[in-house]
Structures are given as C-alpha cells and as structure tokens.
C-alpha cells in the first residue's frame, strides 16, 4: 500500500490545495505551484479536489509500487516511464505491485503532479498536508520534510482502474511566455515610463526561483522607491525591491512584506509561471480583474464539468 522511494529526485513534496486560515499567525499557505495541473490530477482519478499528491520538481525521481493502484500524471512532461516504457502526462495509468515509475528530466514544464487513487495518506498539520520545509510543517512526517530515499509513501491499494485522459484542447501549453497581471492599488506609485517598461520588456528567470518566489532579471522598474508599511501579501504579488528587478511571490511566500507592488500575477497565470525554469524568458501582459476572474471560473468549471 505504498510507493517505495528508490531515488528522491531534486525536490519531491507532498501537497494538497494548501494550509488556509493561519496566515494571520505568519503561517504561509503552501499548496501546488501549478494549481490547475493539481486539480486535473485529482479529476482524472475522480478523487476529492484536495486529495494529496506528489509535486515533482525537475524529476530524477524513482518509485517502486508495493501494491496495485491507479495513478494520474498531470503538469510537466518530465520524461516519465513505467517499467521503462514512456508515459505521457494528462492520463491515468494502472500500476501493479513491483512496477517502477521513473521521472527523468523536464521536456515541457518543470513540475509534474503524481496522483494516486484516493490520494496519498498523511496526517494534516493545521488542516493541511502541504509541505513547507522552511516552516517545518506538513509532508508525510508532518515536519515539513521533502521525500527522501527509502521513504514509504502510503496509499490505499486498489485494482480498480479507469483509463482516462484529458481532451487535447484542455492541455495547458507551458511554452506560453505571456504571464497575465492585474494592476493593483499601488500601480499608481509607478511612473508612466515604468509601467510601459514593465509591460513591454522581456524578463529572464534568475537562479533565485523557488516555491517562495521567482526573482526576475531584465528591465529594472521603479528603483529606489520608498518602502511601504508592511502589509499582507497576496498570492502572485509582484514586489519591486530597490534594485528594480521584479519578484513574483508564490505559494510559500512570506505572509507580510514592505516592498511596493506593481501588480499581481493572476491565480491561473501563476501556474504557468511556476512551470518555467531559471533562464527562461517571460513577458507580462495586462489583464483586467474581470478577465482574470472569468478565466479562473472557466478553468475550474471546465475541470468540474469534465469529471
């Protein structure tokens, strides 16, 4: 009733939809970097929306099943194989005891999601199993540990398997380099020139990109702005520190901060950004809040209707 970890991979974490309701205590939300891929993973297996999955960043992961189950792979194509045979994401697969599942290296995207029928089993901490290593919360051990060699990742075994796959049109295109941004209440602090530069420049993802945030390099905007009084930080907030290079704050962000923000990456676009790697180039695209809202509703409705 488990996967045995033969190789732990670069960064493999247990995630659910996040730890909500504790940010007033400084506890970050965690949760899947690519929420849409995660939701599809559970939809493919007809799991509850919040059923725990593995978030596999980059790959190099090797798992051996000790019992049969049905799995779904969603998100990035990390060159996955079952017993050496290539398997594509956005589908379910039957797994038997002794089968070996490998994730090699990114072909498209950066983070894959591995769902098992019924979800991986772990005890929630503060209402969630989302692993936040910095805070020592969540994960299979409840202490924020990432998946390690020799770990047993438990699930309820099942021989019931239903082959399912996403319609081709529903599969996200991770090559998309345009990231949608809604401008917020602090946009007015930035000059017309800074706004034009921000929306018309390419930015390169720096080496400092992790689950907390993505630090970008390129056209600096709004350098040396005075700080603001520290305030709560929303998912996707784009902070401008004094060097003018934007930082997009993601799932494991700090809960409060004092840098001015030029805008906020939409909840759907944040998933696309999270599939990018250091060195990749992106551009920001203006989106109105009603477009952002509509896009989220349509995306979630599509998943629910497909179920």
């Amino acid at each position: 009733m488990a996967f045995k970890v033969l190789k732990p991979g670069m960064l493999t974490l247990l995630q659910d939809l996040g730890r909500h309701g504790y940010q007033h205590l400084g506890v970050t939300s965690g949760g899947p970097m690519d929420e849409v891929a995660f939701r599809w993973g559970n939809a493919l297996l007809d799991n509850p929306d919040n059923a725990p999955q593995l978030e596999i960043t980059f790959g190099m992961l090797s798992l051996e099943a000790t019992q049969p189950t049905s799995i779904a792979i969603a998100g990035a194509d990390l060159g996955a194989t079952i017993n050496g045979e290539a398997v594509m994401p956005w589908q379910t697969y039957e797994v038997k005891a002794g089968d070996v599942l490998n994730f090699q290296q990114p072909k498209f995207g950066l983070r894959a999601y591995l769902a098992v029928k019924g979800g991986f089993l772990a005890t929630p901490v503060l209402g969630s199993v989302a692993t936040v290593t910095r805070e020592s919360l969540g994960g299979f051990d409840g202490k924020g540990s990432k998946v390690q060699k020799g770990d047993l990742l438990p699930f309820h075994a099942t021989s019931n398997h239903t082959p399912r796959h996403l319609p081709r049109l529903a599969i996200p295109n991770y090559e998309q380099a345009e990231i949608d941004v809604v401008t917020g209440y602090q946009y007015a602090r930035f000059s017309g020139l800074d706004r034009a530069r921000f929306f018309n420049s390419d930015y390169t993802l720096s080496q400092n990109c992790d689950r907390m945030g993505y630090r970008l390099e390129g056209q600096a905007v709004g350098q040396d702005q005075p700080g603001i009084i520290s305030e709560g930080i929303a998912y996707g907030a784009i902070q401008i520190p004094s060097d003018g290079n934007p930082i997009v704050l993601l799932r494991d962000r700090q809960t409060i901060g004092g840098y001015p923000k030029i805008g906020c990456v939409t909840s759907i676009s944040g998933g696309f950004l999270s599939q990018k790697k250091p060195g990749d180039k992106i551009g920001f695209r203006f989106m109105t809040i009603d477009q952002a809202e509509r896009e989220r509703h349509l995306t979630l409705a599509r998943i629910h209707q497909w179920r």
Partner: protein
Amino acid sequence: MKDNQASAATATPIEISLVSDQACLLQFSNVISDAVADQISLVTTALRELEGIIDLIPSYTTLLVVFDTSCFDRFAIQKALQGVLASIDWSSAGNRVSQEVVIPVYYGPEVGPDLEDVAKHCQLDTDEVIRLHSTTTYRAYAIGFTPGFAFLGNTPEALHVPRKTTPRLKVPIGSVAIAERQTAVYPSVTPGGWQILGRTPIALVNWASDSLALINAGDSVRFEPMTKEEFLAQGGNLDGF
C-alpha cells in the same frame, strides 16, 4: 451611511481595493497608530464570522482579505465587506479587551550578545536598557516574517537602535531583540539582523496546542526580567552563540 460611520471613527474612510482575483486589501490609514490598530482588530474579528473568507492578514494599517472565488466574485466580496464594515460599532474600538501576554526574559551576556553594544549606542548602562525594555507595554501590530514572529511596538525612544549591519545567519530560538522602534521574540531559528538583548525559555508557537501561537495581532505584551537560575529552571538553555 456606512461611509459616514467609518469616517466618523477614522481620519480617512476605509478603502477597499481588489488586489487580485482572490484577494482584497482594506486600507485603514497611511499612519500607524493605536486607534488604527484597534479598528483593524475589530474588523478582523467581525470578518471571521463571514463565510467564504479563506485568510485574514492584519498588519499595521491594512487588512488583507483572501476569499473563496466559489463564494464571491469581485462585486460580491466588496459588497459583503462594506456590509460588515457598516454593521460595526466603532465606539467599541477604544475599549477593546486585549489579551495581555507576559514573557519572562533572562537578559544576560550569554544569551544577549548585543546588550553591551546597545547600551553603548544609547549611552545607557545595561541595567537601564533592561529596565526600559521591560517596563514598556507593547502592542503586537503584525505577525509575520516567520510563523509566530510578532512585530511589537513601540520601544522607548531612548532604546532606538539600527539593525545590525550584518545579520546573523542563525538567531537562537527564544531570542528577544530590538531594532528601530520595534521589539520581537524569535519563535524559531532563523537568520536575523535585530539586536539581541536576552532570551525567553517559553515557546512562542505550539502547533499541537489549541492556542497555536502565544501572541496574536492586537495583543498587549510585556517582558519580565528573570534571573539566570529561574531561566535555567524553566528549561532555558544558554547555547547558540
């Protein structure tokens, strides 16, 4: 009507702005004050009753509201927030009953490596630094940086010191520190650039307990000096520097 009530209690009306497709920010003022902090506490408490709110992050002059997009759209959330603001009895803001938290601290050279430097910078002796720090009642304006890290203000003017030029890579758990107008206790081992005066033996966070964190935003906090013997008897340790 509601706007009149809000502006009667505040210098500026509370502004509601959409931050993203999932979050709104309530801006209470541009200036930090106890009156503003009282209002934020009041609104935070009132919003806890509202179904469909995922997270509330109170800070010095703002309250970030994260909402469930399956319960609210951009119009409904603003309407719901305005409704709650309109129903608040602002006159009770001043006489709120806040929790008072007393934190015992051993102010000693083994655990307070910056005590001497702070005294020198402030032109005081170390006893006076300890007296000033422990006779002030602070307010928890915001929680953040790490889980349970409470930004407490304000320190007496005579104790205002800058952050250290080079932050420490590992500040021991329980360290009590000051920087500029603020003071705080480090709930976990993290990097930190504040000036460390002492250490408390008590835990700031305990996720297994019902209260979770010792200090919540809006609480009053005092520090009480303890001897080295009391510190050790309560399980304090002197390691870390």
